[in-house]
């Protein structure tokens, strides 16, 4: 069963705390993405990973970093979270590069108070 799994689904943190969002996929996809979705803005690209330890910044990388040590696992880290990082975060994967169907996780709703 092709699946992208995100954990946790909901998270509440205080400003200044560290946040770890996790994403896993069972399809051996090379490329994975992190997006955030805010009302009226669609999905904004945070980071891209082309494979293990091969990561690139997206359009809004400031305040975020990522880690990919295994092909099936891609983490998004917020060091010292800010209130403007309250959002819904989506992870996606694709078999090879941008020219393939995207498979999305269910999202993580993060609130930073």
């Amino acid at each position: 069963d092709m699946k992208v799994t995100q954990m946790p689904r909901y998270l509440i943190k205080r400003m200044g705390e560290n946040v770890l969002l996790e994403c896993g996929q069972d399809m051996s996809h090379e490329t994975m993405y992190w997006y955030r979705q805010d009302p009226g803005l669609g999905l904004q690209l945070i980071y891209i990973s082309y494979d293990v330890d091969s990561n690139s910044e997206g359009d809004i990388p400031k305040g975020y970093r990522v880690s990919r040590k295994k092909r099936e696992h891609f983490s998004l880290i917020l060091d010292s979270a800010k209130t403007n990082q309250t959002s819904v975060y989506f992870c996606a994967s694709t078999p090879g590069g941008a020219h393939n169907t995207l498979y999305f996780g269910a999202g993580t709703r993060l609130s930073v108070l």
Binding site: G42, Q44, L45, D59, A98, N100, L102, F104, G107
Partner: protein, 110 residues
Amino acid sequence: GQQVQQSPPASLVLQEGENAELQCTYSTTLNSMQWFYQRPGGRLVSLLYSPSWAEQRGGRLTSSAASNESRSSLHISSSQITDSGTYLCATSYNNNAPRFGAGTKLSVKP
């Protein structure tokens, strides 16, 4: 970078049975285009994927693209109440990561 605009810009209300056309325009040459459906707070589900300018069909859904206008459309025929939700387009160019439009919220009334 790639700019993606969707229209209707925010929302569209239809009576059940009416047809809908959603549009996606972009600022650079298209390599691929994908349409997604999302329920409130839900996962994005791929509807149609199209490399370059190929028309795609899936049941009551058809996507088409106009290369000379940098525009693609999603046609929904005979809309149903269960079609209600947000429709997003994503485009990719020059092997870059897909960029998304802001989405169009469709409401189908009985």
